[in-house]
């Protein structure tokens, strides 16, 4: 069944098509939700809510652009709304000298997808949110500001600090590995 047929079926509330859509996007979207959540249970909750939202709003998809991109935006919206319910502190953390050290591209490339995912999740929540939204999903700082209810400048600052924090974590990861 083609993607268009699945979408049409979902518009008609066809359970088979909904299942097909779920199977097509579940792994990717669960991964996305895990990046925005604190634990596995919360990730599952966000995933369920995201799919329900997709099923409810699929008629709004106008076949302009990628359907996966549209689904991703729905999930990001759900995930950030979940995150916004928590009190997130967008402040700096104490930075060590090692955090400023630039990481070699070859080193980063050696990291597996799973390792990158774990390192991202080890960042403080404020950093992680901004980093995910800007670097991975491609949202601008203005959009992030609107989504999270913060200033665009705060988002920029958070991103800079997040990037450094992640580099620091990568270095630490490799130190552990090398030892």
């Amino acid at each position: 069944m083609t993607e268009a047929e699945i979408i049409k079926g979902c518009v008609n509330k066809n359970q088979v098509c909904q299942r097909l859509l779920y199977e097509r996007f579940a792994a990717k979207m669960l991964s996305l939700c895990q990046r925005y959540s604190r634990d596995q249970q919360e990730a599952k909750d966000i995933t369920q809510e995201g799919f329900l939202r997709v099923f409810d709003c699929v008629h709004q998809f106008k076949f302009e652009g990628s359907f996966e991109g549209w689904v991703t935006r729905v999930f990001v919206s759900v995930a950030t709304r979940h995150a916004s319910k928590r009190k997130i502190i967008f402040s700096g953390v104490e930075e060590s000298e090692a955090d400023i050290t630039m990481v070699d591209p070859a080193v980063v490339s050696k990291l597996s997808e799973e390792e990158i995912h774990k390192l991202i999740n080890r960042m403080p929540e404020g950093y992680r949110l901004v980093f995910n939204l800007n670097v991975i999903e491609g949202y601008s700082h203005d959009e992030i500001g609107r989504l999270l209810g913060i200033q665009a400048s705060t988002s920029r600052t958070q991103l800079t600090k997040a990037r450094r924090a992640l580099q620091s974590l990568i270095l630490k990861q490799f130190n552990v590995v090398l030892i």
């Binding site: 579940a26 991964s31 599952k44 329900l52 591209p105 980063v108 990291l111 990158i116």
Partner: protein, 502 residues
């Protein structure tokens, strides 16, 4: 390494990651979808309930106004009659009196029977007494001042005593003395002696409820009346419906003759709740149906989908369907036409779903290849019916607390909607040929019969349960995936009935 390069590497790695999906996520999604559907039904039920309550309230308030208007009208008529009879009284021929707080009317039926009516305007009671020994006719005036309003509808408390206890009153009429009293106030002895059966009660409109008309037309009574009474008079009620009473005043014919026998022409009739509340009922109910389908399966069902160079054809080799239970919400009105029979009508919204499973072979062909795969298509048909039930209701057991009845009639589907959530257009291949998917049938009908058991909850409210069977007369052929079937509906309904005031 620049930030952009770093970001790109991280982005690619993060986006490529696929998480391991636990199996329970889909189950939870399905469960949450079901839970989200439930409020729809509740909203439907609540909206019907609110609408129904509103309708009852409006009808009730209008009925109240009508009753008040009718009471005023009747009071005016009674007063007019009193003035007329009072005029006759001056001649000394009528024997009809008026006392404080009461209105006396007298009338005569065309057959000659005489009924004198005394209305207590304070207590909304009317009693009748005819005393033909005295000439001119004397009508006793009875004011039921002591009865509590709560006890009015039940009965008049009657205490019978020996004749000797009334020596001081000087009343000697019949063999018994009757006292009217209440539990709170001191009993008052009436001035005249009469029997309980000689009383007529009235309804709230202050008009007499004469259930035993036959007494007025009793040959003996009529004969005696004609012989003995000189006055005119008389009101006659030919029905038990007091609102239809007409009062006629006739001139006296002959007041010189003396009668020889005592005459008792009036009757007593206790007012009961059933008389007061025997009007229209409004019923609200929820029905659960367990549909049974009757149809002939097609040889095959086929779907053809064409997209640019790709053609996909599905041909089924096995079709299985199962209809799930459905729910209906109804509002109806039942009007009694006599003690046993009633007529009713209403409106019902009914929804039920059907699960479909089509197994077959799907052939995908493009310019370069043809590929066949075994495919199972699962889907769901949803039926939405807006139906008008029209029925007759026969009560074969009428107890004080409960009633058993038979109901039968027809459900007219004024709107039948059908929704099929499987993409693509199907056509069914029968032995007689191919049935296209464009046919529609938006109306239909079921005949039904069932039992209706009801019980009193309070003075106006009743619960009821109604197991019934609806036999589908017209087929569902809105699209081919309903397979032109009849769907019969065993139903169990429960609900509340509200009895409107007459």
């Amino acid at each position: 390494m620049t930030n952009q390069e770093f970001d790109d590497i991280i982005k690619n790695k993060a986006q490529q990651r696929d998480a391991e999906v636990p199996e329970d996520i889909w189950e939870n999604i399905v469960e949450r979808k079901k839970k989200r559907r439930i409020p729809f039904f509740w909203w439907m039920f609540l909206s019907l309930l609110v609408t129904g309550t509103g309708v009852v309230w409006i009808i009730h308030s209008r009925a109240g106004k009508s009753t008040m208007a009718l009471t005023e009208k009747n009071n005016t008529e009674i007063q007019k009659a009193t003035q007329q009879t009072a005029g006759i009284d001056k001649t000394g021929n009528t024997g009809v009196k008026q006392t404080e707080g009461s209105i006396t009317t007298a009338s005569q039926k065309t057959n000659g029977s005489i009924v004198a009516v005394v209305a207590d305007t304070k207590k909304e009671k009317v009693f009748t007494k005819l005393q033909p020994e005295i000439n001119p006719i004397h009508t006793d005036v009875l004011t039921e001042k002591l009865l509590e309003s709560s006890s009015r509808s039940k009965s008049i408390a009657v205490k019978k005593a020996g004749k000797s206890s009334l020596k001081n009153t000087g009343i000697e009429y019949g063999n018994e003395v009757v006292e009217f009293f209440s539990s709170k106030q001191k009993p008052v002895k009436e001035r005249k002696v009469f029997k309980e059966k000689d009383l007529i009660e009235t309804n709230e409109n202050m008009l007499p409820v004469i259930a035993k008309n036959k007494q007025a037309s009793d040959p003996d009574v009529v004969t005696e009346n004609i012989e003995d009474n000189k006055t005119a008079v008389v009101a006659q009620n030919n029905t038990t419906d007091s609102s239809q009473i007409k009062t006629t005043l006739l001139l006296p014919e002959d007041s010189t003759k003396k009668k020889e026998k005592p005459l008792i022409a009036a009757i007593a009739k206790k007012k009961t709740a059933s008389h007061k509340n025997s009007g229209i009922k409004i019923e609200f109910s929820v029905s659960q149906i367990l549909p049974v389908q009757q149809y002939k399966q097609p040889l095959q069902t086929r779907r053809l989908v064409t997209q640019r160079d790709l053609t996909s054809e599905f041909v089924s080799d096995k079709i299985s369907t199962r209809i799930e239970s459905g729910t209906g919400f109804s509002v109806g009105i039942v009007k009694p036409i006599n003690r046993r029979w009633s007529l009713g009508a209403g409106i019902q919204y009914l929804q039920f779903t059907e699960l479909l499973e089509l197994s077959g072979v799907e052939t995908n062909s493009d310019v370069n290849s043809i590929r066949k795969t075994k495919t199972i298509i699962e889907g769901r048909n949803v039926y939405y019916n807006v139906t008008v039930p029209v029925f007759v209701h026969y009560s074969f057991v009428k107890q004080r607390k409960w009633t058993a009845a038979l109901r039968a009639g027809i459900y007219l589907d004024v709107s039948r909607k059908y929704h099929n959530d499987i993409p693509g257009n199907f056509e069914n291949i029968y032995t007689a040929g191919i049935q296209p998917s464009a046919s529609k049938n938006n109306i239909g009908a079921d005949i039904f019969a069932g039992f209706h058991i009801s019980g009193a909850l309070s003075k106006r409210y009743e619960w009821f349960a109604e197991p019934a069977f609806r036999y589908n007369l017209s087929r569902y052929n809105s699209t081919t995936l309903s397979f032109n079937k009849k769907i019969h509906k065993p139903t169990i309904s429960i609900g509340l009935a509200y009895q409107l005031r007459r």
